[in-house]
Symmetry: C2
Subunit: 237 residues, 2 copies
DNA sequence: GCAGAAACATGATTAAAATCATAAAAATTA
DNA sequence: TAATTTTTATGATTTTAATCATGTTTCTGC
């Protein structure tokens, strides 16, 4: 009885797995993995885990988008990372044996597996390959965070806003029309990523809209002039 | 011929090793390590590695302090991390098989070992314990970076300046007098960490000095009123 | 010890962005 | 569908911090 779930949720048949850190596992290891995970469905806006909580497993996003946020001073939110299907979630606190220092909230309905903590550690110790994959993921997140630091330190709000739109494109890509960002964030959420006030965020997006860099339709943002947006973000000189 | 260096530089007798990621190695592994490292001395202001360079080993700080900086837009420097003896250096690019995305510059004369790349990877694969130590280090650096993001996003320059002084205290500690920060940075370097202009940095430090929060003597900064500095940094409410 | 350069200091001005205020539009719920 | 709340929008004002300008001190090399 290796497979607790239905055939659809079996890891061997999971096409997201192939683009995840678990792609390095062989068939046997994958079945082991499958036996130690459980899957859950989350509604939009639900918490997957919360700040200060203790991790008891590794989350793996099957479908859906998630924001990692932390509550700063005066209760203001800060979006630290954005996560998509195939990504692992909650690995930092788990690996360093600490409490979560941020919360994970779904941006849309999501399906998420949780892999048993003990099994995951054993799997890591048994498979250097898997460990290296996780290290690469963390390394990438560290680089992204440090890029963000430079941006926050040295760029003005307009540049950071343009950069944020490019980041959303890089993270979630476009819809079928090849220009609409495949994620819906409120202006406040965008501001919480960019590090500005909601009003400034609204103002700048309106301005980009007027200047035909982007097109706004409710929460949907389309990139009309990628080249000019890159210029506005002032990426490399 | 296991030991290339003098007895003083042998890893077995290195007291810095015990507070480093390599403390998990046994005697035999430590001798192996010793056979695959070489040690070098750097003068203050020297580059250990530079942005865009290719890593060919892991650096381990024997003595001395190092700043990790990246060149932002308009050539402005950003200090990303501060490194001290016992710390490893240049691990991110090495582990993710990328070029360095920042440069490492010594803040004072330093003695630094470099551990052969191939050996280090083999050692990691052979010792999950060592790997976990490295992962913990990266995890810590990621948390620090994300804390910095929140600070840059949500705090004003005065708060960040106070926070930076507390960070220097946490990183390098005090001198024997138990109040003077055990590191010498120029005002410009502090500004490059805080994310402000050199002038604003100078002004705020003078102000803290006038307000008796700190005492300035050239590059030496003493913390006179820790409690008030914590208040000024607006850490937790 | 001196000359030049770099770092530190401080005032004046300008620019950027936050905050405050108000209102319209959209979404949610009764 | 009407009522209420939330989100988006935009103008006016204030605050913050950058920039510009100038002078002083400290450091460094000869």
């Amino acid at each position: 009885m290796k497979n607790n779930g239905s055939i659809e949720t079996g890891c061997l048949h999971c096409n997201v797995r192939l683009s995840s850190v678990f792609n390095v596992l062989d068939q046997e290891q994958t079945q082991e993995l499958c036996a130690h995970k459980s899957c859950a469905v989350y509604k939009k806006g639900q918490y997957v885990f919360t700040e200060n909580g203790l991790p008891n497993g590794l989350f793996c996003i099957n479908s859906g988008k998630i924001k990692l946020t932390t509550t700063g001073y005066d209760g203001k939110e800060q979006i630290l990372r954005l996560v998509k299907s195939g990504d692992i979630l909650g690995y930092r606190a788990l690996l360093s044996n600490e409490r979560y220092h941020c919360s994970a909230v779904t941006l849309e309905d999501a399906s998420i597996c949780i892999i048993d903590k003990k099994y995951f550690f054993d799997a890591l110790a048994a498979s250097p390959k898997l460990m290296f994959e996780v290290v690469k993921k963390m390394s990438h997140d560290l680089k992204t965070a440090e890029d963000h630091i430079v941006s926050l330190s040295q760029k003005n709000v307009r540049e950071r806003m343009a950069e944020a739109l490019l980041f959303l494109k890089a993270t979630y890509g476009f819809e079928e029309d090849n220009q609409t960002l495949n994620v819906s964030l409120s202006r406040e959420e965008i501001a919480d990523y960019v590090g500005t006030s909601t009003e400034s965020c609204i103002r700048l997006l309106s301005e980009f809209n007027t200047d035909k860099l982007i097109q706004l339709k409710g929460k949907k943002i389309s990139i009309l002039n990628l080249q000019k947006l890159i210029q506005t973000a002032n990426i490399e000189d």
